[in-house]
């Protein structure tokens, strides 16, 4: 029996940056908002004094329990997909605040080029530059239109940084100054300046000073303690929904969050979403939560899966290349973040200190900042040197040729613990007709609902770009004075490891309802009162970290939802663009 609850204005699935921003904005505007979170309730207190590498980094304390539900994965459309069974291979954040609590903090705006990639590529290089299999598209919104939302989110989050010298126009500086420079960061900047590049400090969600955001939330100064990525902050010094948008929503009195609530379906009738069906994990009781507006703001996987399970929208069919839900799945996997590791025989760094977003970066080989006429790929990525603060278990880097165990391994792994750094290429990944998500025909969750199935393979574009990035990183490491420089190898195939959190698409934004699921307010073309917010909206993945763009889309969607609540209807008129491949 399903218990039917009283109707609210807005029900939101997910409490990360996407759901958190929408919760704060709509409850501030006076609407009654309920947010549903599958994970447990946590507060800042949960993360005080628990600096335990084994528990958080190696045993994935903050990641989704896969026993009831995971994803399945394959490379090619004629294969059987197999479940990704362990949390070593499949990490998605859970609990209040979602994956936005364990994030590192690296903050980038995506480029004007990214939002209009298809038009700009054709404009500069001609149509032939885009391979037939590639399904990249413009977002239906420009950087200039997105700028104010980026600015809003950066201020909410208290981002600490300096502008990218090669970046697009900003309406204001970051609200806080950049993080301090460590010797390794100085070395990277000096070397790359000498090479004629334009290094700058990574903009950071670990705060350089104490800060009060426009909503009155206090965020503390980062201590560089190193327990950051895959951890909640010990000091409330990493910007996350728990210290910003969730308390902001709470203060309004219009907001209720229900943790341990696992949403099974979006309810849909007569062309409208009527609410959601969820189960309380503690009691097993099923509830129907009716609402005027339903917002899916969960992780990419869940946003896609709930639409497919609920039979909402037209599922993408790779054979006919028609349909939209599940189309253009895109992600940064093991071919991204490759580069070169330098070993310094006579130089020791305080590598055990650091912060998630402490680092230097450069955009000389990002987006379309460099000429691709003679290159066998489009787009690019940032080159970063990060000082996360190395954990004792994680830091066993040894020069190539060292055995992976035994006396020589022990000697080298200990010797180089504080003597090695990596520079990597945070490269973009383009979308293809053959990379998509749908429902698995075999494997099911604990309610016997089908798991989400990922089909993903690499292309020449991916491999060529990775090779290019590795070479650049290697040159930088040599210039930095490393005695040994080991270059990463380009993998031939996607390895089914989902460990970086950067998976996107499937419910993508666009201007044309034939090739996109949501309009530029994240409103579904097919269902006016259903908004799908988050990384699931990216039509392809840009060459920088995604969080700021998810935060900005949260503000954009909030504006759209308010418009809808006031006036109703479809907020954007769809355009017919040229047919896709």
């Amino acid at each position: 029996m399903v218990v039917k609850l009283d109707k609210v204005d807005v029900v939101i699935v997910g409490t990360g940056w996407a759901g958190g921003v929408v919760s704060a904005e709509l409850s501030k505007a006076g609407y009654k908002v309920v947010a549903l979170e599958r994970g447990k309730n946590v507060t800042r207190d949960d993360y005080i004094g628990v600096k335990d590498e084994l528990r958080y980094t190696n045993r994935y304390e903050m990641m989704q329990n896969l026993a009831p539900e995971t994803i399945t994965s394959r490379n090619y459309i004629d294969e059987a997909a197999l479940p990704v069974r362990t949390r070593k291979e499949m990490m998605a954040g859970t609990d209040l605040g979602g994956g936005s609590v364990h994030w590192a903090g690296a903050t980038y705006r995506w480029k004007a080029y990214d939002f209009e990639i298809k038009s700009k590529t054709i404009e500069r290089y001609g149509k032939a530059k885009i391979p037939n299999d590639m399904t990249i598209q413009d977002w239906g919104i420009t950087y200039d239109e997105m700028e104010k939302y980026y600015d809003r989110w950066e201020k909410t989050a208290g981002i600490s940084g300096e502008p990218d010298p090669l970046g697009d126009k900003r309406s204001s500086d970051y609200p806080n100054p950049p993080m301090k420079e460590s010797p390794a960061i100085r070395l990277f900047k000096d070397a790359t300046k000498k090479m004629g590049y334009h290094p700058y400090q990574v903009a950071s969600g670990n705060l350089s000073q104490a800060y009060t955001n426009p909503d009155g939330e206090q965020i503390n100064q980062c201590m560089f303690c190193s327990f950051c990525t895959q951890y909640g902050c010990d000091f409330g010094a990493k910007s996350d929904p728990l210290v910003t948008v969730i308390p902001t929503a709470m203060k309004t009195g219009n907001f209720e969050v229900r943790t341990g609530s696992y949403v099974k379906r979006v309810l849909y009738k007569g062309g409208k979403a009527t609410g959601v069906l969820y189960v309380d994990n503690m009691t097993g009781i099923e509830y129907e939560q009716p609402a005027d507006v339903v917002v899916l703001a969960a992780f990419t996987f869940t946003n896609n899966r709930l639409l497919l399970l609920s039979g909402i929208g037209r599922p993408y069919n790779p054979k006919t290349k028609k349909g939209v839900i599940g189309r253009n799945f895109n992600a940064q996997f093991n071919i991204t973040f490759l580069g070169a590791r330098g070993f310094f025989k006579d130089k020791k760094f305080n590598s055990y200190m650091g912060a998630g977003a402490l680092g230097a970066t450069l955009s000389d080989f990002a987006g379309d900042n460099f000429d691709h006429s003679k290159l066998d790929f489009i787009n690019g990525g940032g080159i970063e040197l990060r000082q996360y603060g190395s954990g004792a278990i994680a830091t066993n880097h040894v020069p190539n040729g060292t055995p992976s165990w035994g006396p020589e391994f022990k000697k080298n792994s200990i010797y180089y613990t504080n003597r090695s750094y990596v520079a990597w290429y945070t490269m973009a990944t383009m979308s293809y007709w053959h990379n998509f998500v749908d429902l698995d025909p075999t494997y099911t969750d604990s309610f016997n609902d089908p798991l989400l199935r990922i089909t993903y393979k690499y292309t020449d574009q991916d491999k060529n770009m990775a090779k290019f990035g590795i070479e650049k990183c290697s040159e930088i490491m040599k210039e930095m004075g490393a005695d040994i420089v080991d270059e990463d190898e380009v993998p031939q195939e996607f390895d089914h490891v989902y460990d970086g959190g950067h998976y996107a698409g499937g419910v993508i934004m666009g201007a044309d309802p034939e090739t996109s699921a949501v309009n530029n307010y994240l409103q579904m073309w097919d269902v006016d009162n259903l908004f799908v917010v988050g990384g699931s909206a990216f039509p392809q993945f840009a060459g920088h970290h995604p969080t700021a763009t998810i935060g900005a889309l949260g503000y954009r969607a909030s504006e759209g939802i308010e418009k809808y609540l006031k006036n109703g209807g479809q907020l954007v008129k769809g355009k017919q663009e040229s047919a896709s491949v």
């Binding site: 600096k51 590498e53 362990t86 560089f224 760094f349 089914h496």
Partner: protein, 277 residues
């Protein structure tokens, strides 16, 4: 197999000769290099005293809570000591308490795969390829499409949980030692022990339900974890792993040091210190 049963150290199950050659150590008891000579003649049967002090994980955790058979534990001790041997930099696996660390991990959530997806059907690569993929460099390997088994696949496709994999794997180590080298694993020379371990690493040993390289990968992973995880879990005894790496343990702040050029060496503190217990 020259050693007589009487020649064995009852506690470790390791022959005296192999014991001295391999490690200078006995599982559960720690013997310093200086004691080596004395040990040879009369200290073998004695457990060196454990003197707990304020920052030690102490001796109270040194008991098996998952592995039933002492023999299995001795194989684990000898194998991890080869993966992470004692040398002039500092202690090896046994002295660091790594076998006890692993035993405790196998008894818990991780060993029981309680947060992993363990629903069938289990289509294992091992049926076709003899191994699950465990490392990125194996991604290009595997069966061809004709077998209808996808390649590559998500790695962990075994119906066994990790603790079961360990039990099978440890016994398999002994089987291989007996069959190929004519002696129990703990009695083999270190070089021969390495050969056995390498056979597992390369997936050359046939195991039921799981690839031998998968087992080896778990063994190596937990050995490293046991060397460097907080001592509260039973390994990294007295933070000796951290001392070797000059790792300071959990600290509140490096705010005043992050910009400094020179390397700063700190005596490590543990989670117990940090939480103020």
């Amino acid at each position: 197999m020259a050693d007589k049963p009487t020649d064995r150290n009852e506690k470790s199950g390791m022959s005296r000769r192999a014991f001295i050659k391999n490690t200078g150590l006995v599982a559960g008891g720690v013997v310093g290099g200086g004691l080596f000579g004395g040990l040879f003649t009369n200290q073998l049967q004695k457990k060196s005293p454990v003197t707990p002090h304020e920052n030690t994980s102490g001796g109270l955790q040194d008991a098996r809570v998952f592995i039933n058979r002492a023999e299995d534990f001795d194989i684990l001790s000898a194998a991890t000591e080869r993966l992470f041997p004692k040398d002039d930099l500092g202690p090896g696996a046994i002295e660091l308490g790594i076998p006890y660390f692993i035993d405790k991990q196998l008894a818990g959530e991780w060993g029981m795969n309680s947060k992993e997806y363990m629903k069938g059907p289990f289509i294992t690569n091992i049926q076709a390829a003899g191994t699950h993929n465990v490392k990125r460099d194996q991604d290009t390997q595997g069966p061809n499409a004709a077998t209808q088994v996808p390649t590559p696949t998500p790695r962990y496709q075994s119906i066994l949980n990790r603790s079961e994999v360990f039990t099978l794997g440890l016994r398999k180590i002994n089987e291989v030692a007996q069959k190929d080298f004519g002696a129990r694993f703990v009695d083999l020379d270190p070089e021969k022990q390495d050969e056995v371990l390498r056979m597992f690493e390369e997936g050359k040993v046939e195991m039921k339900g799981v690839g031998s390289s998968n087992f080896f990968s778990l063994l190596l992973q937990t050995t490293i974890e046991g060397a460097y995880a907080d001592p509260v879990y039973g390994g990294n005894k007295d933070m000796m792993g951290w001392k070797m790496k000059e790792y300071p343990g959990p600290r509140a702040s490096f705010l005043n040091d992050i910009e400094k050029e020179e390397f700063i060496k700190m005596d490590p503190v543990s989670l117990r210190n940090y939480q103020g217990h």
